[in-house]
Subunit: 192 residues, 2 copies
DNA sequence: GTCTATAAGATGATAGAC
DNA sequence: GTCTATCATCTTATAGAC
């Protein structure tokens, strides 16, 4: 874990926001430079090529997201509560300027991404499904949750529902649309 | 319904495929020209600005999608069968070169789209939800389908699940991931 | 309806001064 | 670590010949 300068972090902050709202092909070094009131070459100094910036973006995002999931896991919430916290991770992203989940956005841009970035996006989704599967499995073992079929299948469904709900909600510029879907999906997992 | 020349249709075909795989900001007039082995100004002749091409693309897409939904409605399939046919509409898009639903893609690109295109994307989703709501309402009235809550809420959930399943499946380059989600979602609607 | 020629601006990137 | 200057290339778009 190497220490990064203040500017590099600011660049990542701005670039992430831009990716989440405009997509990987929808932002440029000029956009980042303007937002930070520095010049383009300063950005190249920290991230020589756009692919480098993309890789750093994903590395930080996955690390942070992983930490957020670990924090939820460590909390003393029960299974249903953990799933609700998971949902609010997505919700809070959407509420911030109608942003999309960064990996959902990159999944849309998938065919135009450099190979390492593609792998990272896939792994992110895999990590999410792994985590969800674990919560679902334990929740059902505890009789705190009830659902049919393998926990993995339900994990895949929940991730798909949340990503899709974000995507559609974006076009209505209406965060409550996400809430409606999330509540319904998680509501069906309640043990009887 | 005005007749369009052969070239204009070919341009729309290529542009649609490009939008569905690379996004609105991920393709250029040069890409379309190269695919059709014509020159860029020929494309400008049919669609002066990219926004014009975008509008024509959405108009045709919505018209075709609407016709497909009408055909399913007119079929003598029962409610569950209609929903399965609806799912296979999405599935067949994904299977073709790992393409995304055009409107799902444009929802990702939403913040960078010209205003008329944004409205069109929103309306497309609205039309889908309207259609699904109708099938769900009738299906439940017939006791062919069973689910809790208002038909509209379930319609919103199904659309979100399908869009999200496509998006995630894309990054795994695995169409069967979509099938798994679609089967599970529709399976839960079966009347007991 | 298609072409050649052309243009203004954006984009990703580098060299080299400070 | 940031800047000025510069670059080749791409992108959207227009003028005007055929």
């Amino acid at each position: 874990m190497q220490k990064r300068g203040h500017t590099a972090d600011q660049i990542l902050d701005v670039a992430q926001a831009l990716v989440q709202s405009h997509g990987y092909n929808g932002f440029s070094y000029a956009d980042v430079a303007q937002a930070l009131r520095i010049r383009k070459p300063s950005i190249h100094h920290h991230f020589p090529a756009k692919a480098d910036l993309g890789r750093a973006l994903m590395a930080r995002y996955r690390q942070r997201f992983g930490a957020a999931l670990a924090e939820i896991s460590a909390s003393n919430a029960r299974a249903a509560g953990k799933l609700q916290k998971y949902a609010s991770l997505f919700r809070s992203v959407l509420q911030q300027d109608n942003r999309m989940c960064m990996c959902g956005m990159l999944a849309a841009d998938f065919s135009t991404l450099p190979r390492p970035l593609r792998d990272s996006v896939r792994d992110f989704f895999g990590d999410n499904e792994d985590w969800l599967e674990g919560v679902l499995r334990l929740g059902r073992a505890d009789r705190a949750l009830a659902f049919d079929g393998p926990p993995r299948a339900m994990a895949v469904r929940i991730l798909a529902a949340f990503e899709g709900a974000m995507l559609v909600a974006r076009s209505f510029e209406d965060t409550s649309r996400f809430d409606t879907v999330a509540r319904a999906v998680l509501g069906e997992l309640k043990a009887t």
